[in-house]
């Protein structure tokens, strides 16, 4: 079953001409897809289209996940400055009607999972860049959404935190099987987390190609050092390089 | 202060700005008549009438030489200037009776002003420093009766117990015309209120520089007033209606009729001394009343407020 899809979408912003597309992408229920591509190619735009935050200039967008079933992590943290970390994370739960006390309990637990135990009471302005981004991630995960759209969620994080969180997201996926699309600039991360990696070309980004990652999910220990992993990562890097060369 | 730098106008006549105390109306008729019939021009005056309004302070304009002459509405205005030692003198009084009235609903048993005791009374700010002093002195009214008057009779009509101040030709007419109610009207002057109305005041600077112009103005205005009450007024009325488009011939005729009926201009000393006359006796009477109420110190040199030297010769 297709949870969300883009079909031949193009996006134009005023007189700056076409920014993205034509581009197609289809997300099947429960799959994890990574979206990679050079800076400015249209990855964030594709995510926004899938979330229904914007409409395409041409082409069609479909979405089976209803309101309140989709979670999004923007490229920037996008937190409410007047709310504490806990309250920011509790927000989507409270919006869905959960009692404040329970929502905050769950929010605290989610903050603990992203390594922010101790920063629950801090305001966004008091957090470091990586911490704010993790609050944003916790907010997206806490609602157990059917469709999870993540825009470079780990870009501001160090390697160790990054790997821990990647495994965390995979564990969560194991539990509730959401459909996950995430943007990353880290090819190894893409291959490690996704079942399928979609690459875009620069400029007005179109599909550069895609690679299916074989292997069990969640990844077994030492997966990153396997031959298959190396080969797929290599292939994705090549896709990006040829896409860039063609543009 | 932009005082009259050039006191001669291009016509070669003496410039004289005369500030009135309200928008152009019948009660200013004499001045407009003198203007319309050329009485001012004939005497070498280039008179410009500047209309006033509820917040225009003629004493301020005069004492800062912003105008040469202005209208004094009542004796309080004049004596206040004496108290503050403003360089302004009153030179003529064209209304022997002040046209201030009190108005009451016809059917609440108010037969005399004395009956108004205890009734809420709408008075403008200025009246509270003016006629109210006299009313308290004469009738024992108290401050808790006071309500603000904004020159709208709405609050009066809304509440039958309310009485209010008024201008002889204005409010009673308005109330009758718009609300179909013939109110009880009491002219203060007929109940012993000693103030003059519609006086001509001149700044000391102007008196010092052009005493003849002051005399000429008083003379011409007196002629204008007499003429406005008895002769054809079309030209003057046209000037009034040009200055104040809200004025109607109807209203003007009404005001003229009242001024004649009540002897506003020509009664009292005017019968003998001519239009515009003032007397020391009358000024003293007013001062005694007001200082008796503590409004002015007993030793105030109230005579500094006016001068009789510009009054026209008594008609033979």
């Amino acid at each position: 079953m297709t949870i969300a899809s883009l079909k031949d979408v193009e996006v134009e912003y005023g007189k700056r001409g076409r920014a993205v597309g034509p581009f197609s992408l289809s997300l099947e229920a429960g799959e994890i897809v990574a979206l990679v591509g050079p800076s400015g190619c249209g990855k964030s735009t594709a995510l926004r289209l899938l979330a229904g935050l914007e409409g395409p200039t041409r082409g069609t967008v479909t979405r089976a996940a209803g309101r309140g079933e989709t979670s999004l992590v923007f490229q920037a943290p996008t937190l409410a400055p007047w709310l504490s970390a806990t309250d920011n994370v509790a927000l989507p739960l409270e919006l869905a009607g959960m009692a404040s006390k329970e929502a905050r309990d769950q929010a605290r637990a989610a903050l603990g999972r992203v390594g922010l135990a101790g920063a629950e009471a801090a305001r966004p302005a008091q957090l470091s860049g990586g911490m704010a981004m993790r609050v944003s991630l916790a907010r997206a995960l806490v609602t157990s959404p059917r469709l999870l759209l993540l825009d470079e969620p780990f870009a501001a994080l160090d390697e160790i935190t990054r790997r821990t969180l990647a495994d965390d997201v995979l564990a969560l996926w194991q539990e509730t099987r959401p459909t996950i699309l995430f943007v990353t600039h880290n090819v190894e991360e893409a291959v490690y987390m996704a079942q399928r990696v979609v690459a875009m070309t620069p400029g007005p980004g179109v599909l550069a190609g895609e690679r299916v990652v074989t292997g069990p999910l969640p990844r077994p220990h030492g997966f990153r050092t396997t031959e298959g992993f190396r080969a797929t990562a290599e292939q994705v890097s090549d896709l990006l390089a040829t896409g860039r060369a063609a543009a | 202060a932009p005082a009259a730098k050039k006191d001669k106008t291009p016509t070669g006549r003496t410039q004289l700005r005369f500030a009135t105390d309200w928008r152009a109306q019948g009660e200013h008729g004499g001045f407009y008549q003198a203007l319309a019939t050329g009485e001012y021009a004939k005497r070498g005056l280039d008179v410009q009438i500047i209309q006033g309004g509820p917040n225009v302070s003629i004493p301020t304009l005069l004492s800062n030489n912003a105008v040469e002459m202005g209208m004094g509405s009542n004796d309080f205005v004049v004596l206040n200037m004496a108290l503050e030692k403003r360089p302004v003198k009153t030179v003529a009084a064209f209304f022997q009776k002040d046209v201030q009235v009190l108005i009451a609903h016809p059917d609440v048993g108010i037969k005399t002003i004395a009956d108004m005791k205890g009734h809420p009374m709408l008075l403008s700010g200025e009246s509270r420093t003016g006629i109210w002093v006299w009313l308290k002195a004469k009738y024992g009214f108290t401050d808790d009766q006071l309500r603000p008057y904004n020159f709208s009779t709405g609050p009066f009509l809304a509440d039958k117990s309310v009485v209010q101040q008024g201008y002889l030709s204005s409010e009673p007419y308005t109330i009758e015309k718009e609300a179909g109610l013939k109110p009880a009207v009491f002219l203060l002057a007929d109940n012993g209120y000693p103030s003059y109305g519609t006086m001509a005041m001149a700044s000391q600077a102007f008196i010092d520089k052009s005493p003849d112009a002051v005399r000429a103005f008083v003379e011409a205005s007196a002629i204008g007033w007499k003429s406005y009450l008895h002769d054809d007024t079309k030209a003057a009325d046209a000037l009034i209606m040009k200055d104040n488009p809200e004025m109607t011939p109807d209203l003007l005729a009404h005001a003229r009729q009242l001024m004649r009926d009540y002897g506003i201009v020509e009664s009292g000393d005017a019968a003998k001394g001519g239009v515009g006359v003032m007397t020391d006796a009358r000024w003293e009477a007013f001062f005694q009343m007001a200082s008796g109420q503590g409004v002015y110190p007993k030793d105030l040199d109230y005579k500094a407020a006016y001068t009789l030297e510009f009054l026209p010769k008594a008609p033979a």
């Binding site: - | 202060a1 932009p2 700005r17 500030a19 928008r23 152009a24 500047i50 209309q51 006033g52 309004g53 509820p54 917040n55 225009v56 302070s57 301020t60 304009l61 800062n64 912003a66 105008v67 904004n150 020159f151 709208s152 009779t153 709405g154 009509l157 809304a158 204005s170 308005t174 109330i175 015309k177 718009e178 609300a179 200055d243 104040n244 488009p245 809200e246």
Partner: protein
């Protein structure tokens, strides 16, 4: 379709309101001098249209000049003041004092300064005093609302006070200055009317006179007709400024 509903519904709502008012006046037999019925107001407005239009134009043009004057002076003052904290602390209480000074109280003096021969100057000065404060306060607040990190960058790059002012604080203040103008425009209009009440005597043709004279003559419907015109002008000016604000903010935000 949606759009048409959006356009028509507010008008319908207003019509309903006015209809209710009219009905109340008729059914409860409210005297026209307490609260005139909309129909009566309309009749007066039509009857007096030429005179009203002339008066409205007078008031509007003076209010406009006052707004421009207030905008320029308050802008310049806010600039000067934001160059020096000391100056700001000295000037702010003075400006607030000016704001809380009732123009009715100072009208006689302003009248003299402006010269009796120029009542419109007095009116414009007084209206400008009324409109002054929201722009000044908005500019000051806005200049302090600059992104603190951008401010730090300016310091790092060795920007002078003047450069920080013109290149950071002024652009940053735009949203607040626009809001200030939206408030100030209405104040300039009502300030012009009150100034006409207070300082113009009979020499200046404006709506104040229409209103006052009508109230004095107990022709309340006529006064309301003038107030109606005033309200329409106010709403139009506000709508125009709102449009300008949206445009300018879109430019400012870059989208």
């Amino acid at each position: 379709m949606r759009r048409i509903v959006d356009q028509v519904a507010p008008i319908l709502l207003l019509a309903l309101l006015i209809g209710g008012w009219e009905a109340a006046c008729r059914l409860m037999d409210i005297k026209p001098y307490f609260l005139p019925a909309p129909s009566a107001i309309w009749t007066e407005a039509i009857k007096d249209a030429p005179l009203l239009a002339l008066s409205a134009w007078g008031t509007l043009s003076r209010a406009f000049i006052a707004l421009v004057v207030a905008s320029l002076i308050s802008g310049l003052l806010a600039l000067a003041v934001s160059l020096s904290g000391i100056l700001e602390r000295a000037v702010r209480p003075l400006v607030v004092t000016l704001q809380v000074t009732p123009i009715i109280a100072i009208a006689p003096i302003v009248q003299i300064w402006a010269g009796v021969a120029h009542p419109e100057r007095a009116v414009i000065s007084l209206a400008a005093i009324v409109a002054f404060f929201p722009i000044f306060s908005g500019a000051l607040t806005g200049m302090k609302a600059a992104d603190p990190d951008l401010e730090r960058l300016f310091r790092l790059y060795g920007a002078s006070r003047w450069q920080t002012l013109t290149r950071l604080r002024i652009p940053s203040s735009i949203p607040f200055v626009l809001e200030g103008h939206k408030v100030a425009a209405g104040l300039a209009l009502v300030g012009a009317v009150i100034a006409e009440f207070a300082a113009a005597g009979g020499g200046v043709i404006g709506l104040a006179w229409r209103i006052q004279e009508s109230l004095f003559r107990l022709q309340v419907a006529k006064a309301f007709a003038a107030l109606l015109i005033l309200g329409i002008m106010g709403a139009a000016v506000y709508a125009l400024l709102g449009l300008a604000e949206r445009r300018i903010l879109a430019w400012w935000r870059g989208r």
